[in-house]
Subunit: 344 residues, 3 copies
């Protein structure tokens, strides 16, 4: 489209890719569908998502972050999430807009710092900058009086342990839990947001969409097996980290194979336990887990990559979609195979 | 022995070395004696130790971790400890067996990730993967209902501050505390386990056995000086991290010298304070300290190695026993000395 | 001065530079003025500052840390702060002297370990070793009975959230808050200490003095905007991290420019939020924040340096004062410019 070639169109493209990168999709159409999914749940959240993406991207340009990574939306998605995250837990009002702008400029510094840490190990930053920055700006507020600081975080949305004993979830629980597992990635609890997120992934990669769906089911199943409450299951609270972990490991940062698919499934299951750990550890502090379980689980699996000779890691800068990763490798193999040797 | 050359024998050898590596002894006989020591205290703990070592080693083979490090037991010992650790704090039952298998496959991923982090700095992973994984799988459980999750960890085995004022320990306290300081490495409270662990070290390295004994005494003494309760002292709770720290630093990862022995003694003393820190920090969360103080203290001493020109660090891949390290260095010095120059 | 050429004089010089490095000033005169500022507030604190600097420096010499970095005071300042920090929170008495000596030998190991971590990324250690060691030795004490361990830390000096609603600070609050913002770097609450610290910076670098003053005002202003209580504002508790962050980023580790000055101002503002975060996170544990917010904020800004092409980072080993950094760069540019090309 010619639109993307104009500066304004380019910026719109960058912002939409930024929203898309929240679920690891470097695709403006995915981003637009994700954004629509947020607006369906809450137009305020949608506006904050836009604001956060724009501010974080703008800050990156201001301090001179190399343009290529900015244009892929890699300096936007942490802003998207930081803005939604603050809007979800802090009393809304004009002051919050200023605070979100402040936080979304800071998140770019944090993202660049984490990038320089993990990139030498060929590991992507994931949503680590969002988690760190949102924790700082949420916890920081509690020491001060503004923005209802003292009242903030009174209702952390952590999975809570079952008080009424383990109950068998109904098909309705499974349906809601499945789509909420997507929606919670954007901190929303709406089936329609979940549907939009799944569709947004599907338009970019069928493998990633299947991985994400499997991740949501694994999260639901493991949490059920561990005795999670109906609220946790139906709310998708055990699913969103498994969704992200499955997308990241099944084909994107590890080349797809039966072994890596199994590996990704185990990792998605582990992410549920890690989420429980964060729930326990953060309870005395009163902070939400956000996507920390996804970051920790996926980082561990990727930092370990060079020891796992039977799994093939994909360099973050080469990773696009599971399908493209496979094509790129088969092309390289073709060029290495002397198939025309006989014609010489 | 021909047994070790068969696949089954080789696997048994690997598993026993895995148990041996819990106390940094790459020796199947040490491992067998350690294992016997656990069985003496509790046959359930012994079975879990075996299960954990087997699962962690098997997972490493499945994902293709290079065989040499697996055969040295380096992917087993974290499984040993993770299994014992979960069995010590979680309500036992058939479900726990499944949970332990889950945790002991995860610990291999964690170990590989930590290895890739610290190996570039020539620092060994120690028991960091066990500590991280056990914390995750213990804390994770508390958010869910299964396995008595809510009830788990009600009685953390942390050193507790003296309520009855500082009392002078009796010779009996010293005797029990000395051997419990060994036994607590395997999360047991049995003098016979302690004796077995000391003997198991002795068959592999006399220097390490002396270092470990000195470590247990230093731990006891420092905790006494800081006013620890009789329960802490007699239970060996202030000793086990000092035991491990002393083994690691006195001759194994630093070449033995008067200066490095003094350094190791100071580090063993510091590990007691670090243990107190973890007790305070983990109290609100309700997690046990495990061997985190050993890992943190020893890592600090080893990460600092390149700045300490008067101490000679040994690369983890070359470190075998304090005695062999010294021989290896004197051999290298011999080969550098032109002693045959006159005969040419 | 000939005095500095004698061994004793050299050691005095090293110790004074150590005190100076607390505020990033490699200058014995600055150190002497800082020390005088501590003595004015409390002669006990002054003596502990001297003891800590001497012990930490001596330990570094004992283990063979390369002399050049020791002579610049880089192994002294963490000892200064650790000693003052323990003396501020622990019941004083003869036993404390021994405990401080113990902690100040440990801080040198911690400093060397952190150095080896961050130096490869061209990032200075800042006061991270002090923060880590003081936390360990404070929290460790709470598990034991000695040194009034149980009673220690009953009154953490964290900024507390406003109970009486946001009040407009008076000019007197601003005056006290401004100078206390300096004094709190040395854990003192005295205007005269604040004046001495500002003068001590001024004799070494006018730019750093201006940056520090701006940092103290920014800290005051941001905390006021976020609704901090009068006690926090007047006590300078929101200022000391902003002071240090501003000194580090405005000209010292980033070459001074309009853009980097703005960047430093934003970072100083962020440090206030980070301080609030530490207050919330450390509250359940009962530990003071110390200078952790400065370390975290400044590290993030420096680890990100290689991504920020419009800001020019200065390598820690080349960083002296903002003025000297600018001269050094203009000299290099001069030598690159072929200004004499025509005369050849």
């Amino acid at each position: 489209m010619a639109l993307w070639k104009s500066p304004v169109g380019g910026f719109v493209d960058t912002v939409l890719r930024g929203v898309g990168q929240v679920l690891l999709q470097n695709n403006p159409l995915s981003g637009a569908i994700f954004l629509a999914g947020i607006f369906v749940s809450s137009w305020v959240a949608g506006l904050y998502a836009l604001l956060g993406t724009v501010v974080a991207t703008g800050t990156a340009l201001l301090v001179g972050v190399p343009g290529a990574s900015v244009r892929q939306g890699l300096y936007g998605f942490n802003g998207t999430l930081t803005a939604i995250g603050l809007a979800a837990y802090v009393t809304r009002g004009p002051a919050l807009v200023g605070y979100v702008v402040f936080a979304c400029s800071a998140v770019t510094i944090v993202a660049a710092a984490i990038y320089n840490f993990v990139n030498s190990e060929h590991v992507p930053t994931l949503t680590a900058a969002f988690v760190a920055t949102a924790w700082v700006f949420l916890a920081g507020l509690r020491q001060f009086g503004a923005l209802g600081g003292a009242a903030a975080l009174t209702a952390p949305r952590l999975p809570t342990r079952s008080s009424s004993g383990a109950s068998t979830p109904t098909p309705s629980d499974l349906l809601f839990g499945f789509f909420h597992g997507f929606a919670e990635v954007m901190l929303q609890t709406s089936v329609w947001t979940g549907v939009a997120l799944l569709v947004g992934i599907l338009v970019n990669s069928r493998i990633s969409a299947i991985a994400a769906a499997a991740g949501s089911l694994i999260g639901f199943g493991v949490a059920w097996g561990l005795g999670a409450s109906e609220t946790t299951l139906r709310g998708g609270l055990a699913g969103y980290n498994a969704v992200l972990t499955a997308i990241a490991l099944a084909g994107l940062y590890y080349l797809l194979s039966y072994r890596s698919a199994l590996f990704a499934a185990v990792a998605a299951a582990v992410s549920v336990v890690v989420e429980g750990m964060f729930g326990t550890v953060l309870a005395p502090v009163g902070l939400p887990t956000l996507t920390a379980p996804f970051v920790v689980t996926t980082w561990l699996c990727l930092f370990a990559a060079s020891s796992f000779t039977r799994l093939h890691a994909v360099h973050p800068e080469d990773a696009t979609t599971p399908e493209a990763n496979l094509r790129s490798v088969s092309r390289r193999w073709d060029s290495l195979t002397p198939r025309n040797a006989g014609t010489r």
